[in-house]
Amino acid sequence: MPFALTAEREKQVEALLTRYPNARAALIPVLWVCQRQHGWISPAVRDWVAQRLDLSTATVTGVVTFYTMFFDKPVGEHVIWVCRTLSCDLRGGKAIQEHLEQRLGCHAGGTSTDGKFTLMKAECLAACGQAPMVQIDDDYHENLTLEGLDQILDSVGAAPAEEA
């Protein structure tokens, strides 16, 4: 299926193109606009972006694969990033990850069987003073306790943990 942006998002792309002296510089912001609509950067998205910015698909792919936030495979409805760098780990980052794995029934790097959540390990997310923390989609959740994390998961629709 060929990809196309909604009219509203196409307007965003037009505005982005006016910011830079050349079209290529808009590549990363344009990829963001596409991923926000489509959820991931599929081959069809790459082709569309390449054509829109007059680049080769190989150029677009080279950029997509460099940056960890661009997904080159489909992901769950929500993506949970758990920070495991030092400041977070000193304050329980590992326990947060273990709790998430248990509750979602998947390991970091995987997606829950209901397809709702993809769990990823993150490197320092610039919230070290509010450790431990996770990012769910665009939102930071900081100063976590396990109870607090459970409430957040409830609010985004995670199934209750199965009894071990």
């Binding site: 910011r19 990829l31 963001w32 460099f66 495991r84 030092l86 320092c124 070290c128 109870e147």
Partner: protein, 480 residues
């Protein structure tokens, strides 16, 4: 001292809705930019910034006024200002407070800087994870544009200035200034060989000044107060001027971002600002002073600076954490001030495990262009994994030192040194701990989050007994 300090850089943090232009303006925003653009010559502004001894807040501490002086544009060149808001050095979380709580200070600083350096366009590069910060900044830019402060005639002056945000997409290396420029241009975030330096050939092949978010945010106060007055707020004036944001994370009671004069000590940061150690029965073991790339310090190690002409002579015989935090003082101490965001570790932490955590980070983030960096960061991590899992060999400690030494010097960017230096520092400061782990792995049942893990479940009474502290009193030096 903490109580009666009047914040300057963060003066609007406590003002509700200071991210809205009208609120910021009622609290002082844009008055200085207006004055600077309408009444000051660019050279006069540059002179004040030089007098301020504003050392770059992104990690390297280069004086901003001197950097601006490197511009030497040819006829027809466009000059760019690129503001570094990548903030991905582990332990660092200060620029985000400026972006979220007071974006108009950054915009005002960008306007003054553009006028001073002859730029008509500024890009503010922000790491992609900070989607909300980007939205806040974009809204602030829209307001400033609507008011006419940003755009064709800022404050009525015939000197167009456009300012845009630009998102990253997840890559630590994009904080390195030339990688950031590649990323801005829509390329893979791989650092470029220097020279040419950005001031000569930067964004889109044009002369470019790259400065950190906090550096640019300090400019309005410098112009408002005068460079010398601002400089003298520092305890380390005149070489390292002004006030700055300090971050503190890890095992303290009140982690966070605090403003203070340049030159407070780590002990003050931990005790007076950070509220002291998290657990009264777990003393301070080590502190990484300014982001993960800066070599670790320990409170029980004393400064050796007997010679009268030693830059640290005044602190000879005192603890490393009693030296004022400055760019030059910390370099003399064998570490770096970096981003001025400290990671505090108590006696429950095993340094080999902490090293493994950081080397996982560096391995993951190396861009892979240079063999010593790509291979070296992988070997460091693999060796530490083996050692931590009890599969180490006695010679692994020397091997770690060897690998780290071989990473330095021959690479395109400073990432490799930023990996090797903290590795060497940890081994030097906690040698015996590495020897013990190479012989027998980490202590049985050890987890470095033990001191908070039980507390996480909401019942601190269950806190696991501290069985992990290896008190390293050895003063063995690393021989390499």
């Amino acid at each position: 001292m903490v109580a009666d300090y009047e914040p300057i850089l963060s003066s609007r943090y406590g003002v509700p809705d200071a991210h809205r232009l009208a609120v910021a303006e009622r609290n002082g925003a844009y008055a200085t930019a207006k004055k600077a653009l309408l009444t000051m010559r660019p050279d006069a502004i540059k002179e004040e910034v030089k007098k301020a001894s504003l050392r770059g807040r992104g990690g390297a501490g280069f004086p901003a006024g001197i950097k601006w002086g490197f511009l030497n544009p040819k006829e027809g060149d466009d000059i760019y200002l690129v503001i570094n808001g990548d903030e991905s050095e582990p332990g660092t979380f200060k620029d985000r407070t400026l972006l979220n709580l007071d974006p108009h200070r950054l915009i005002e600083g960008a306007l003054i800087t553009c006028w001073a350096i002859g730029a008509h366009k500024a890009y503010i590069y922000i790491r992609g994870e900070l989607a909300h910060s980007i939205a806040i900044l974009d809204a602030a830019l829209d307001e400033a544009r609507a008011k006419g402060y940003v755009g064709a005639r800022p404050f009525g002056k015939n000197y167009p200035i456009e300012i845009f945000s630009h998102p990253g997409a997840g890559a630590y290396i994009c904080g390195e200034e030339t990688a950031l420029l590649n990323s801005l241009e829509g390329r893979r975030g791989e650092p470029r060989l220097k020279p040419p330096f950005p001031a000569i050939k930067g964004a889109f092949g044009m002369p470019t000044i790259v400065n950190n978010v906090e550096t640019i945010s300090a400019v309005p106060d410098i112009i408002r107060m005068g460079g010398e007055t601002w400089c003298n707020l520092s305890r380390l004036a005149p070489r390292d001027g002004g006030v700055r944001l300090y971050g503190i994370s890890g095992h303290v009671k009140k982690p966070g971002v605090y403003e203070a004069p340049v030159g407070i000590t780590l002990r003050e940061l931990i005790d007076d600002y950070g509220g002291g150690m998290l657990h009264d029965d777990r003393p301070l073991k080590a502190v990484i002073p300014g982001g993960s790339s800066t070599p670790v310090l320990r409170p029980d190690r004393m400064v050796e600076a007997e010679a009268e002409d030693h830059p640290l002579h005044e602190w000879h015989g005192k603890s490393e954490i009693d030296v004022p935090m400055g760019v030059d003082t910390f370099r003399a101490l064998g570490t770096m001030l970096g981003t001025c965001c400290a990671i505090v570790m108590d006696s429950s932490v095993n340094m080999v495990d902490a090293a493994r955590n950081l080397m996982r980070f560096y391995r993951h983030e190396s861009c892979g262009q240079c063999t010593p960096c790509r291979e070296g960061s992988g070997w460091l991590q693999n060796t530490l994994e083996e050692v931590c899992e009890g599969r180490g060999r006695p010679e692994d400690v020397a091997l770690l030192v060897d690998i780290a030494n071989n990473m330095m010097g021959n690479t395109i960017c400073a990432f490799a040194e930023g990996t090797a230096m903290p590795m060497l520092g940890m081994i030097q400061q906690f040698h015996q701990e590495f020897v013990d782990a190479a012989a027998a792995g980490l202590p049985e049942g050890y987890r470095h989050d033990d001191s908070t893990r039980a507390g996480l479940a909401g019942d601190p009474a269950d806190a696991v007994a501290d069985g992990a502290s290896t008190d390293d009193t050895s003063t063995d030096e690393v021989t390499a």
